[in-house]
C-alpha cells in the first residue's frame, strides 16, 4: 500500500447536523502516482469537495487515512496547496503580495530574500500575470484572479496540487483558456494534481484518470476511468478523436444513467455539506 505516492485509505466522513448524522463518504480508496492528473467528478452535493478537503487536511475524516509520500496527512500544509473555487485571494494584498505571502512563509529558511522575490516573479510569469504585480484583486478580472490563485498554489511547490472546481466560476472562453494554461504548466512542472470538477469535457481533456463518485449520502467511488490520450492534448483535434468521444460517453453514461439525480439538488446539498450558517448554528 505504501508504494503509492498518495493513497487515500478507507476514508469515511460523517457530519452531524441538527441531531441527525449524515454519512457523506464511505469506503473511499484511491491510489495516485507521482505526476498523475486525477479528476474527481460527481453530481453536486455528492461530497467531492469534502474529499478534497480531507486530502488537503482542512477537514478531518471520521475514519481512514490519507498518506502522502509515506507520511500521514493530519493538518493542512504547503505540500498540498489548494486552488480554491472562488480564488480566495486576500483583497487587501496586491497580486505580488498574495503570492509572496505564501512564498515567504513556505521558503523562509530554504531560500534567500532575493531568491524568494525571483521565485514570486517566476510563478506569476508562468501564469501570465507579470503585468499586474501591484494590482489588487478587485482591480483584475475573474480569470486573472484564478491565475493568481494558481500561481500562489504552485509557488509553494506542492507534492500534490489540489484544484477545487478551479474554473467553475468562470465564463466558457476564459475557462478554456485557463484549462490550456493548466495543461501547459503541468506539462512543464510535472505536478501531481487532483481536481474536483463537474464538467465532463474538462475532466476528459485534462486528466490521466477520472474518479467518478456515486450519489450521496454515503458516496463511494463508482468507477475509475483511465484516459489514454496522447499529450499534449488539443481540444480542437480531440473533438474528432473517437477515443475522446468514447471517454466522454463513458463519463456521461455514469453520471446520467447510472447515477441519475432525482432528488432536489438544493435539498441534497443542504444535507450533505453543512453550510456556513449551519456550522455557526451548531457552534
Amino acid at each position: 500500500m505504501a508504494t503509492h505516492y498518495l493513497s487515500v485509505e478507507q476514508v469515511e466522513m460523517t457530519f452531524a447536523t441538527k441531531g441527525a448524522t449524515t454519512n457523506v463518504l464511505k469506503d473511499i480508496n484511491l491510489a495516485v502516482e507521482r505526476g498523475e492528473y486525477i479528476s474527481i467528478i460527481g453530481h453536486s452535493g455528492c461530497g467531492k469537495s469534502t474529499l478534497l478537503n480531507i486530502i488537503a487536511g482542512l477537514t478531518e475524516s471520521t475514519s481512514g487515512a490519507v498518506i502522502l509520500d509515506g507520511k500521514e496527512v493530519n493538518a493542512p500544509g504547503p505540500d498540498r496547496s489548494v486552488v480554491f473555487q472562488n480564488h480566495s485571494l486576500l483583497p487587501w494584498l496586491t497580486v505580488y503580495e498574495n503570492v509572496s505571502l505564501a512564498v515567504n512563509k513556505t521558503f523562509s529558511r530554504s531560500k534567500s530574500k532575493a531568491e524568494r522575490h525571483e521565485w514570486v516573479l517566476k510563478n506569476l510569469d508562468m501564469v501570465g500575470m507579470s503585468h499586474a504585480l501591484s494590482k489588487r484583486p478587485a482591480e483584475i478580472s475573474g480569470g486573472m484572479k484564478q491565475r493568481v490563485g494558481i500561481a500562489r498554489a504552485i509557488s509553494m511547490e506542492p507534492k500534490v496540487l489540489l484544484l477545487d472546481e478551479p474554473f467553475g466560476a468562470l465564463d466558457a472562453l476564459t475557462r478554456a483558456h485557463l484549462q490550456e494554461e493548466v495543461m501547459r504548466i503541468q506539462d512543464e512542472l510535472g505536478n501531481t494534481v487532483i481536481m474536483i470538477t463537474h464538467d465532463v469535457d474538462e475532466a476528459v481533456l485534462l486528466s490521466d484518470r477520472i474518479v467518478m463518485l456515486t450519489n450521496g449520502p454515503s458516496a463511494r467511488i463508482g468507477e475509475i476511468l483511465d484516459i489514454d490520450l496522447p499529450r499534449p492534448r488539443n481540444r480542437i483535434e480531440l473533438a474528432d478523436n473517437p477515443n475522446y468521444n468514447h471517454y466522454r460517453q463513458e463519463v456521461l453514461r455514469f453520471l446520467y444513467e447510472k447515477q441519475r439525480k432525482v432528488e432536489n439538488l438544493a435539498e441534497r446539498r443542504e444535507k450533505a455539506v453543512p453550510t456556513n450558517a449551519a456550522k455557526k448554528a451548531r457552534a
Binding site: P76, S88, L101, A102
Partner: protein, 283 residues
C-alpha cells in the same frame, strides 16, 4: 448580523482633483451651497423668533456680539477656570483621548477574544449586553468613589462609554472572517501572530472602524455631561458655569464648538478608517 452594512459607511465617492477649476466649482456648488443655504435659513428663523424683547433665548446676532471676546481670543488664561474656549476644548479633548485610546486597546483585544473563542463569547456576551445599556453618567458616582479623584473618573467614564461598540463590532468582524481566508492561512501555515496581523486585522478592519467611529462619537457625548458634574477646566463645566452665571450666549457658542469638534472627531476616525481599509472590502 448583516454583512451588507460593511462597506456603506466607508466608501463615499471621492472627487479626483482633475481639471481643477471646473471640478472645484462643481464641487462647491454641489456640496457647499446646499448646507450654506439651509444654515442661513435656520439662522434667519432663529433671529426672527428670538428678536422680540421678551424672548427667553438670545438671537444669533446678540450671541455674536456677546461672545465676540471669546471668539477672537480663544487662548487667554486668567488663572483658575477662567480660560479661553480653546483651552477648555483642549482640556476636554485630552480626557477623551486618554479614555478613548484605552477603550480602543482594551476593546479591540476583548473583541478579538470574543470573536475567536466561542467559550469567551458565551461567558462574556451576556455581561457586555447588560453593562452596555448602563448610561455613561450612571458610572460616574461609582468611579468617583473608586478613584477618589475627578480626572481619572472622567477618563473612566469615557472609557466605559466608548468600549462597548468597539468590542461588539470587533467581535462581529472577527467572527465574519470568510472561511476561505482561514483556509488560505491554514494551507500556508501562518502562525498565530501572523494570522492576527496578516488576515484577522485587515479582514475585520471595516467592522472595527465602524465600532471606533461610534465609540468616538459616544465618548464626546459623555465628556460634556461628565465635566458638568466634576467641574474644573473643560467645555462641559464651561457650559455649566455659564448657565449658573446666566450667560446664555456663552452656552450657545459652547454648543457650536462642541458640535464642530464632535464632527471633526468623527471625520478623523472615518478618514483613518478609509486609509486603513482601502482594498479590504470583498472583491
Amino acid at each position: 448580523m448583516t454583512t451588507s452594512t460593511r462597506t456603506e459607511t466607508f466608501h463615499k465617492p471621492t472627487f479626483n482633483a482633475g481639471p481643477a477649476l471646473i471640478r472645484l466649482r462643481d464641487t462647491l456648488v454641489k456640496n457647499v451651497l446646499p448646507p450654506a443655504v439651509i444654515l442661513a435659513l435656520l439662522l434667519g428663523i432663529w433671529e426672527m423668533l428670538c428678536s422680540s424683547p421678551t424672548a427667553a433665548l438670545p438671537p444669533p446676532s446678540q450671541v455674536l456680539s456677546d461672545t465676540w471676546e471669546l471668539i477672537v481670543n480663544p487662548f487667554y488664561d486668567y488663572g483658575g477656570n477662567d480660560k479661553g474656549m480653546g483651552w477648555q476644548i483642549l482640556a476636554s479633548l485630552e480626557r477623551v483621548a486618554y479614555g478613548y485610546l484605552l477603550a480602543v486597546v482594551v476593546g479591540i483585544s476583548l473583541g478579538v477574544l470574543v470573536g475567536q473563542s466561542t467559550w469567551a463569547l458565551r461567558g462574556l456576551d451576556p455581561v457586555f449586553q447588560v453593562l452596555r445599556t448602563v448610561p455613561p453618567l450612571a458610572w460616574l458616582p461609582i468611579s468617583l468613589a473608586g478613584f477618589q479623584d475627578s480626572t481619572p473618573s472622567a477618563i473612566f467614564v469615557i472609557f466605559i462609554t466608548a468600549i462597548w461598540p468597539i468590542i461588539i463590532n470587533t467581535s462581529v468582524g472577527v467572527r465574519n472572517i470568510p472561511e476561505d481566508y482561514r483556509n488560505v492561512a491554514r494551507v500556508i501555515r501562518l502562525n498565530g501572530a501572523e494570522y492576527f496581523t496578516r488576515i484577522m486585522l485587515p479582514a475585520a478592519a471595516p467592522y472595527i472602524f465602524s465600532g471606533l467611529r461610534i465609540g468616538v462619537g459616544l465618548s464626546w457625548l459623555a465628556i460634556v455631561a461628565a465635566e458638568m458634574l466634576i467641574g474644573g477646566v473643560g467645555i462641559g463645566f464651561f457650559i455649566w458655569d455659564a448657565w449658573n452665571a446666566s450667560m446664555l450666549s456663552d452656552i450657545v457658542l459652547a454648543l457650536v464648538y462642541v458640535g464642530i469638534v464632535g464632527f471633526f472627531l468623527d471625520r478623523i476616525v472615518a478618514f483613518i478608517g478609509n486609509c486603513v481599509t482601502r482594498g479590504t472590502t470583498q472583491s
